[in-house]
């Protein structure tokens, strides 16, 4: 995976890409950070061209001031895919990236061949409120994120000290951008729009995920026609890190 910058309209973003052959995979990262050249992205790149852009407002990816709501982000990703001229792509979205991926699949179904959502935000159940990640202290967040918090050091990050910011600033910028879509309740009306999703959809959840209650798997498979769900044992909110093999097997099995 190689990092490069890509300009798309008012957005100047960082994008990690690699791999070749078959339908391209667009990976959209979660609410905390882009994972950089993560091992699981490299594994996916063994079989597909993989493109993993950073969301505007995250890290050194600019253009956040041009985003008022989720529709602006959706249009940004629509244009990005169109600019590649590679035809429809498979989209894998995690957490906040899952929310963006589902919006994209609803608004631009012709651009999304298959859809994989990993603990996606975007729905809300009164009977199982989504935990509020912004109020969690670091140890509480770690306990919610990981099946085994000792695995936290395996998480990769797009943080790059050479870009000038401190790690604290990098995180502050990322989470501030996330509040635009997740605060105070991570529901921007996606439930109404999921009827427009036509791509075959797989929803994944780590069995020990403390940020994405199990009840949401059913909510997603009920809302997206034909969607399947799968629970990955031995993982929390980041099954692609904590249970990489199971994650790759599940994703490759669904995409092939």
């Amino acid at each position: 995976m190689k990092a490069a910058r890509e300009t798309s309209g008012a957005f100047d973003i960082r994008l990690w890409s690699g791999g070749s052959g078959g339908t391209p995979v667009l990976y959209l990262h979660g609410f905390e950070q882009h994972p950089g050249a993560a091992p699981f992205l490299q594994r996916l790149a063994e079989r597909h061209p993989v493109r993993a852009p950073e969301h505007p407002g995250y890290g050194s990816s600019s253009g956040f001031e041009h985003i008022d709501d989720i529709f602006d982000v959706t249009l940004h990703y629509r244009r990005l895919i169109e600019s590649w001229n590679l035809g429809p792509v498979d989209v894998v979205g995690h957490s906040l990236g899952g929310m963006f991926a589902a919006e994209l699949a609803a608004v631009a179904p012709h651009l999304v061949r298959r859809l994989v959502l990993v603990s996606p935000y975007g729905l809300w159940l009164d009977e199982a409120p989504m935990p509020d990640p912004f109020v969690m202290t670091p140890p509480v967040l770690a306990a919610a994120k990981w099946a085994d918090p000792a695995r936290a050091s395996d998480e990769t990050s797009a943080f790059d000290a050479a870009e000038g910011d401190s790690a604290a600033t990098f995180r502050a910028l990322n989470l501030a951008a996330a509040t635009k879509f997740l605060w105070p309740i991570p529901d921007r009306g996606l439930q109404r729009r999921l009827q427009y999703v036509t791509a075959p959809t797989l929803v994944l959840r780590g069995e020990a995920d403390g940020l994405f209650p199990a009840a949401y798997l059913n909510a997603w498979t009920s809302a997206v026609a034909g969607a399947k769900s799968l629970t990955i044992p031995g993982a929390g909110n980041l099954p692609m890190v904590e249970a990489e093999d199971s994650f790759i097997t599940a994703v490759e099995g669904f995409l092939s």
Binding site: V140, R171, A172, L173, N174, A177, T179, K180, W183, I185
Partner: protein, 418 residues
Amino acid sequence: MKFHWFAEATYPHLPKNFPDMGVSSWVTPPHSLGDPRKLGEMYKMFIRLMQQADRDGFDGLAVNEHHQTPFACTPSPNLLAASLAGTTENAAILIIGDSLALYNPPTRVAEEMAYMDCLSGGRLIAGFVFGTPMDSVFAYGIPPVELRDRFHEARKLILKAWSEPEPFAFNGKYTKLRYVNTWPRPVQKRPPIWVPGSGSLETWDLVIDEDYCYGHLSFSGLHSAKPMVQAYWDYVEKRGGNMNPHRMAFTQLVCCSETDAEAEAKYYDAVRYFYRNNTLDPGFTAPPGYTSVRSAQEMAKRMTSGGGLSPEDRARAQKGEMSFWEYDEKGYIIAGSPQRVRQRIRELATDLRIGQLIACLHMGDLSEEQASENTRLFGTQVIPHLRDLWADQPDHWTPEVSQQRIAAASARRLEPAQ
């Protein structure tokens, strides 16, 4: 120099073990701890005390906005202010302030503040605040990254609603109104505007650019505030802003008694109640996006550049572990006889270049009787001795009507003695 009466309207009947209950006094405190009838009595007490402050020579009666907390039971400052605007004569009605991002549409603020300016005969001070993270982004759910943008859009709408001669359309990002035509309008052409802050550079730029009064509203006193306030004035000077001390407001807990010894006996419990019961879940303190990266970096620099209070002192003050006179020495309170209090306030005001003191004369579970004595002593034996401070500088940040009436009332009080 001007003196404003203020209290946090802290609920005074929390159980003794509240600080040990492991609950936050902000955002999620159990409502079962508050008795609505006792709250009603408390509200009446604050109205009486502030009416007394008006008679005792205070320049302003300050009210503020907080939500979901027994620390300050004033969800709408305008309600308390309205009780005062029609029942007082001289003092400014200092709303410090309305959390602009939380009013939808914000013309509500323009209307209610105008109502109070009408009712008080032009005595309104319009305070516009961002609100604490606990209030604005947790209790009221505004995405922190949008808070400032919403505040400024609301501020511009309110100012236009007060000044535009004809009905107008307002097409904002957050507020869209086809017909803005505020009735009533304020008596004052434009009420004085105050904007408190906690050190953000963006707020400093705003008050400098618009010549508003800035406020540092903390409860940790001189030593804690010194690095921030010093940095603020340096910044104003560097930017060529107005250095008039009347453009700076500061909150200070005051415990005044006939003698120093009496002050300790009468106020120590209430001071400890005030600090100990202000428990805050750390998750509610610093939501991402509430402070800009630029300001966060500046604040961190100020924190590490020395001065201020040590984290240990802050923790001890919070837990009620300081002696009465250590609270005083560290600046959390100014206590003692009127002579001592006025000397200490003179030092504070001179040191920090403060022209508007927001004196907190009721704190914690202090009795009405004691708060009343505090008010009387401060109004009659402290304020008159400090009127010379900054007297050479004009005050454009309190209403003219209040200034005239207070000067006339003060002259009437002096006459019999002559």
